[in-house]
Amino acid sequence: MARFLFSRLLATLPVMLTVLVVVFMLLHIGPGDPAAAMAGDNASAEQIAQIRQRLHLDQPLVVQFLIYLRQLAQFDLGVSVYSGRPVATMILQRAEPTLMLALTTTLLSVLVAVPAGVFAARRLGLVTDYVVMALCVAGFSIPVFVIGYALMQVFAIELGWLPVQGYRPLASGLWNSLRSLTLPTVALTLLFAALVARITRATLLNVLSEDYIRTARAKGLPERKVVATHALKNIGVPVVTVVGTSFAALLGGVVVTESVFNLPGIGRLTVDSILSRDYPVVQGVMLVFAFVLVVVNLLVDLSYALFDPRIRQDMRS
């Protein structure tokens, strides 16, 4: 197991390096100059040149990359070209809303979607199956900002039960924090639950047609027990894969949801930084996101062992 873990962690290095090079090149080769954007409308060419010099943007690309690598070797993600604040601090300041939203959305999606998927699979071809699937199609098809504004109008503006916008951090109390996340969580859950429910249903239908299920039924086991004991644990691998991937995507920031509900998360930080060409922040966010993605994938891979003894055996050997 330790060897498996070590080899997987080692494999993250080339991934991170590739991300580093690609993001750096894309940003620097693409159009746009933070010095010009930073200097503002009235700035003269001389003032812009001064800013470029200060930010090392006047150096050749290779030199700029080497400067960046030297910083990273010292565990320094650099500072924002605009605010002068450390990128690591900026990411951490924005991490909590994103992490909390990812957790609540994933939790609610699983709690809603897995039972719904099982329910639909067991009633294949009946009205209830069609209703669940129709809701999934709707959840998947309606843009999240439409759902978001509709929820906001009803529950925040008309009824006044929940805040319209903003995030209350955990330090202000769990209840406050959860209240501020309720509407964005529900809006996102409709999307992610639809995905998980469909996968659950489809996988369970496959499993229910397997020979060992037929054998279990032939032994006279009640259907509920067949599903609970024999079928459900065999849908674990694909469902966990989808849930894990969704969780990682949520951690990358959900820009539209964060904008609609004015959540100061990673998604908005990323987009703002890209639009203003704040290179160090974009690079830092991308690097952290790549790392998180690798770690989440590793955890998902490890979780397969819980569901499938063959994988457990492979890992041990």
Binding site: N42, S83, E96, V164, Q165, D272, L275
Partner: protein, 526 residues
């Protein structure tokens, strides 16, 4: 490592929690304004949001009043010697910085010296400066080599760059190095721990501030902190901000998109009005250095091609009450308003445009138009503009991009085929355009001019004459000449004047009309 991450996260969480602010009797004004406050050294950016927030934190020696005249602010009294060369300034009693230390003449001198290194009018003062010295703790003297009537105007200016007074220890920071600490003596003090760029900018009442006795007028007069805190909340979505206003979660939205007016106007607790400032203007900027726009006839053809009315309708639809067609390069409603030489761009005439293009020998060379698609006004007005240019006989290459790319490309002096450009639209606030000394388009200063680089000796001479003019009548006469010359060589073309629409809850009152929007004197009731 894990501990460090957890500790940092907790610190971030506590910081965000602190930014919610304490409950209780404290009055908190929550505002949504355009742009983000990422840094606060007003000598390092000409961005209006930074300047406007800096006005809350810093005080100035002089300020512009509602009639755009310089009035003493930190200064109690001042004298000018008979030879017009020596000014003596006496500070008001009781001025103090946010760190509790008194404001001294040494602080003012250091602030002036740093400002003169960055500001263009400051540089003109610096050229003429013989000596500047403290007389005592609250008085200082500025001795010039020659009389210069613009000194006090310079100290009062609000556009690129205002002279903000800060403690000497900070003002001694070289003008090439950005400040990291922001201590002023204004009516509000910065709460640095609660300031998270992209999220929130927070200031709190400066208890030690001594307002002037006069009534507030523009940026001058008594500045009273009417609320305990001001939180400038960052929104990336206009509709969310409007919803937050309707729900009472924020108090003021500075720029409301016209399409959201019906929703707001229905709510009796909301007041919607034009922002109480001079206004804004979007302009056609022309690259004078590249063909075919280096030909004055082609530029004049462009004047005939545009329609202020169509441009404004692209932004405001049928709401004619929200804008005005304005022939003045120095803004309508300003001291230098005139319509001289503006006939060509006040009446769209495609036939005259075509005739001028023919006269200029225009061969259909594509006009490279920089068209940002992520800025609503530039996007919509740009679409109208490109269409009008084509109808007038121009061949237009409509290059669509984002604003950051446009900012970069517009500094490129190469031919359009090598990454340069011919035409784009940008916007300036009225406070910049209203004064020939701060209007970036009318210097005629070639390489040193604003992008587009108009190069014109008569305009340069007029600018210098205006700089040295000592009375209002002479300045007005020169401004008229500057507009005439500027329109003749087509330094830029205004596209209509408008005020942003602001919306606020009726529990908020006390906005002072002036060159820009400040929040001192604004009060909030329950």
């Amino acid at each position: 490592m894990l501990r460090i991450v957890i500790a940092a996260w907790l610190a971030g969480s506590l910081c965000l929690a602190a930014s919610i602010g304490p409950a209780g009797a404290e009055t908190v004004l929550k505002i949504k304004n355009t742009g983000d406050i990422k840094q606060l050294d007003a000598l390092f950016t000409s961005a209006y949001p930074v300047r406007d927030m800096a006005y809350l934190i810093y005080d100035t020696l002089f300020s512009l009043d509602g009639n755009y005249r310089a009035q003493p602010q930190m200064v109690e009294s001042h004298t000018l010697s008979e030879d017009g060369k020596t000014y003596v300034f006496k500070l008001r009693q009781g001025l103090s910085f946010h760190d509790g230390k008194p404001v001294t003449a040494a602080d003012c001198i250091a602030s002036i010296e740093r400002w003169m290194k960055k500001d263009s009018l400051g540089a003109e003062i610096d050229k003429r400066l013989d000596a500047i010295r403290a007389i005592d703790a609250t008085a200082f003297e500025v001795r010039l080599k020659e009389p210069f009537a613009r000194l006090i105007d310079g100290f009062a200016r609000m556009t690129a760059y205002p002279l903000f007074v800060m403690p000497e220890r900070l003002a001694r920071t070289p003008a090439t190095t950005e400040l990291k600490e922001f201590v002023g003596s204004g009516p509000f003090k910065l709460l640095p721990d609660e300031w998270v760029p992209g999220v929130k900018f927070v200031v709190a009442k400066h208890g030690g501030y001594k307002p002037r006795g006069e009534a507030p007028s523009g940026l001058a007069g008594g500045k009273t902190a009417g609320v305990d805190r001001i939180e400038r909340i960052q929104f990336s979505d206009d509709l969310s901000a409007v919803n937050a206003l309707l729900a009472g979660e924020i108090d003021y939205v500075a720029e409301v998109p016209a399409e959201m007016l019906p929703v707001l106007e229905k709510d009796k607790s909301i007041q919607v009005a034009k922002a109480p400032i001079l206004g804004k203007n979007f302009q056609v900027v022309i690259n004078h250095t590249q063909p075919p726009m280096d030909n004055v006839k082609v530029r004049q053809a462009l004047q005939y091609a545009i329609s202020q009315s169509d441009s404004m309708q692209a932004v405001f639809g049928g709401r004619k009450d929200l804008y005005q067609l304005c022939p003045a390069l120095f803004m309508c409603g300003s001291p230098y308003e005139t319509d001289v030489g503006s006939e060509r761009f006040m009446k769209q005439d495609f036939e005259k445009a075509k005739a001028l293009l023919k006269e200029a020998g225009y061969d259909g060379t594509p006009i490279v138009y920089l068209h940002p698609m992520d800025a609503k006004v530039q996007r919509d007005v740009g679409t109208v503009m490109v269409n009008a240019m084509r109808k007038a006989g121009f061949t237009v290459e409509d290059v669509q991009m984002d604003t950051a790319t446009m900012f970069t490309r517009r500094t490129n002096k190469n031919p359009p085929k090598q990454g340069g450009w011919n035409v784009f639209i940008t916007g300036f606030a009225g406070d910049a355009l209203m004064d020939p000394l701060t209007n970036p388009y009318v210097t005629g200063a070639c390489e040193k001019a604003f992008v587009g680089w108009p190069c014109d000796k008569p305009l340069q001479e007029l600018w210098q004459t205006f700089l040295l003019a000592s009375d209002d009548a002479a300045r007005k006469a020169i401004a008229v000449e500057m507009q005439a010359r500027s329109n003749e060589i087509v330094t830029y073309i205004p596209l209509g004047q408008f005020n942003d629409l602001s919306a606020w809850r009726k529990s908020v009152s006390g906005f002072v009309p002036g060159p820009t929007l400040t929040y001192w004197n604004v009060r909030k009731s329950d």
